[in-house]
């Protein structure tokens, strides 16, 4: 008899349903969490001969609304490793890569990283997209003494409260980025501000630092309202209309990736970009996706736009990346590429793949990379690199086919970095 059975009470069903929904919401994607699907780096046929191999790992977000950042970063790591191997590897060993998807979930990231360390014997780790995931991973890296390089997620806590000797941050952190934006905006006439930022560490910290930095840079501003949508919000209608109702003259947004794409598209119908000026991380994953829909004249920032970094090595990187992936690199691929360079330099310098000598070699070092030499501060292992801020061009760039940033302002690290004294005060004793 195929009819539905009614032996279970509503209450039980409800309980099961709640539990199940909770599981789906909180649990990692089984689908996306094959532990580190072995993805060996391209084997070099007939190339240099290696004396064995070493493995490095990256667990990052490869599915969901911020996956484009993770995918792009992964491609940067892959290209960097291919380049290392083409030049004979690192300490004559071939570098292999394992990667896994964390689906932007901290527990999944932690599981991936532990698997990579215990099963794949990785000698170094490259970081995730979300700082919430990074926070879960960094402790594991410390526990097993594996150097970990954060190149996309950028939480200040990784170099302060959660700092340890094996953690390196080669991306402007959540102190530097909002300060850079404040330095830029403090010179503009906007005074009535509104903030929209994701409801987790990165979003909360960024807004905090931004508002304090505006004071530091001498801008006396008024905050008319603040919104904290959760990561992965699909309907921004109510946030958009609430922001407009407050009548600010500038809306600062730290929502990013797919969320900012959703916001941009939904805001258009409200005439948002005509009524207020806004600034947000419209990055090199979003500008090509939005093309003509990108809000021209609005402020955008980037942690490493290739078109604003004028070195022959970056130009070469851009053309080879383009050739390999049939798309333009993003700041995420550029930052990931330099992160691998930093690691490889540390290993060469130390003459070892072990965590301790590599970490010692890198602390305080000045490392040559495609974007020029970058210094890793000894006090907190933060790379001294700038943040870039500009306005979105009205028409697509003739070569790239999407609007890039114009009048790019480069916020120099010395003006936006947290001082070593302050950083060390926050670090664990």
């Amino acid at each position: 008899m195929g009819g539905p059975k009614r032996a279970y009470s509503r209450r039980e069903v409800l309980r099961l349903g709640l539990a199940g929904t909770g599981l789906v919401a909180a649990g990692g994607w089984l689908a996306a969490c094959q532990p580190a699907p072995g993805a060996p780096a391209p084997t070099t046929g007939g190339g240099p001969s290696f004396e064995g191999s070493v493995t490095v790992g990256i667990s990052t977000t490869l599915s969901g609304s911020i996956a484009s950042l993770g995918q792009s970063g992964l491609q940067g790591v892959q290209l960097a490793i291919a380049d290392l191997n083409a030049k004979g590897g690192v300490l004559k060993k071939e570098v292999k890569l394992v990667y896994a998807d964390d689906a932007a979930k901290p527990d999944q990231g932690a599981t991936n990283v532990r698997n990579m360390i215990l099963n794949d014997q990785v000698v170094a780790l490259f970081g995730p997209v979300s700082s919430a995931v990074a926070a879960a991973e960094t402790g594991i890296a410390a526990q097993y003494r594996k150097p970990i390089f954060f190149h996309t997620s950028n939480d200040l806590v990784l170099t302060t409260k959660q700092f340890h000797k094996y953690a390196f941050q080669v991306v402007p952190n959540t102190y530097m980025e909002p300060r850079a934006i404040a330095e830029y905006l403090s010179r503009q006439p906007f005074r009535k501000f509104y903030t929209i930022s994701p409801d987790y560490n990165y979003g909360r910290d960024s807004v905090d630092v931004f508002l304090n930095a505006m004071k530091d840079f001498g801008a006396n501003i008024e905050v008319l309202g603040q919104q904290w949508p959760k990561l992965g919000t699909t309907d921004f209608s109510t946030y958009i209309s609430a922001a407009l109702a407050a009548k600010p003259d500038f809306v600062v947004m730290f929502i990013y990736g797919g969320d900012l794409l959703t916001f941009t598209k939904q805001a258009k119908g409200y005439g948002f970009f005509e009524q207020v000026k806004s600034g947000g991380p419209w990055d090199l994953t979003l500008l090509p996706a939005l093309k003509g829909e990108a809000p021209a004249g609005h402020v955008a920032w980037s942690r490493g736009p290739f078109f604003a970094i004028d070195t022959p090595e970056v130009k070469d990187f851009v053309s080879r990346y383009r050739a390999k992936y049939n798309e333009w690199p993003t700041e995420w691929s550029l930052l990931a590429y330099t992160a691998v360079q930093v690691w490889a330099w540390g290993v060469q310098k130390a003459g070892s793949f072990d965590g301790d000598p590599v970490a010692d070699a890198l602390a305080g070092a000045t490392v040559p990379t495609i974007r020029g030499s970058i210094t890793i501060r000894k006090c907190d292992h933060q790379a001294e690199i700038p943040e870039y801020i500009g306005t979105i061009a009205a028409s697509p760039h003739p070569e790239y086919g999407f609007p890039i940033l114009e009048n790019v302002f480069v916020a120099h690290p010395e003006r936006i970095l947290l001082s070593c004294d302050e950083a060390q005060k926050l670090q664990p004793r």
């Binding site: 199940g20 789906v24 599915s63 969901g64 598209k265 119908g269 005439g271 996706a289």
Partner: protein, 293 residues
């Protein structure tokens, strides 16, 4: 203080959110009402519709192909729904409830993995179809025309469901299925068929919501579970099994959010859950749910 035209716009924004929530939740609650199954894969149907639409009408060509894409999405997902009912769920009706739940839970992962294989992990977007992409003026404020379309769609779906359930043979069969499947079978009705049709309608509703919401959102893996959680809350508030309840629940959540964002932004992400807790304290079976006998 908030000017009243701004308040009206804010409420309309809340109703926009409510409309999508209602369409998704009505499918979830309909299936539960008819078959006492909570279909965890309901969000997968929603996501698949958006992906199918993006495949047909995404990218530069976009726009004009929107309606073709919407049709394709609804048809494909309805067929998928039928296959799931016949192929998987039908085998679980005489099993424990936990087994049924686990079966649909497994489907969530299978569908998610398949989507990752077929469409990849990065996001896609679809443009609002021509004719619906402008701004309307409401009390001197701009409001997206497409949001009016979404609100209208919610109302149309609600009216259509009411008509089917109250005024058609299929409707009373579905309602009778809830009350007494044995008697319905004895009356000569093919009970299995009614169950399959109810499930297909449920999948179809998820597809309509997914495809209609697709323009203007980021279509990416993960949207299945995000909507499932929200829709489940709406269905629970309304009372599982009650379509009218789902409508009430959606409006409550939409307006709670609209007001919350405007007046207590600091707490806005907690508002949805707060609404659910309040309703369940007062009415443990949801607003229009029938208490267990």
């Amino acid at each position: 203080m908030v000017a009243w035209p701004d308040a009206v716009i804010q409420l309309l924004s809340g109703l926009t959110a409510a409309s999508t929530l209602f369409i998704v939740a009505s499918g979830l609650t309909l299936v539960f009402g008819a078959m006492r199954v909570i279909n965890m894969a309901h969000g997968s149907f929603y996501m698949y519709a958006a992906f199918i639409l993006a495949t047909v009408a995404g990218g530069a060509a976009g726009g004009a192909r929107f309606w073709v894409g919407l049709g394709a999405a609804v048809v494909v997902v309805a067929v998928l729904g039928g296959l799931v009912e016949v192929g998987v769920l039908r085998r679980t009706y005489d099993k424990e409830h936990l087994t049924q739940l686990l079966a649909t839970f497994a489907l969530v992962y299978i569908f998610a993995d398949l989507a990752l294989q077929v469409w990849g992990g990065t996001y896609r977007s679809v443009s609002v179809p021509p004719g619906l992409d402008g701004q309307a003026e409401v009390l001197g404020r701009a409001f997206p025309v497409y949001n009016f379309f979404l609100i209208g769609l919610g109302i149309a779906v609600g009216a259509g469901l009411w008509f089917i359930l109250q005024r058609t043979t299929l409707g009373w069969q579905v309602r009778a299925l809830v009350e007494d499947p044995e008697l319905l079978a004895a009356a000569g009705v093919n009970v299995r068929r009614v169950g399959t049709i109810a499930f297909i309608i449920g999948a179809l509703l998820a597809a309509v919501a997914g495809a209609a919401r697709a323009p203007g959102i980021t279509i990416a893996p993960g949207m299945d579970t995000e909507i499932l959680v929200d829709a489940f809350i709406v269905a629970v508030i309304g009372g599982l099994g009650s379509v009218t309840g789902a409508a009430l629940g959606a409006i409550i959540i939409g307006l709670f959010q609209a007001v919350g964002v405007l007046l207590a932004a600091e707490w806005s992400s907690a508002f949805t859950y707060l609404a659910m807790i309040l309703v369940l304290i007062v009415r443990p079976s949801g607003l229009l749910g029938i208490p267990e006998r």
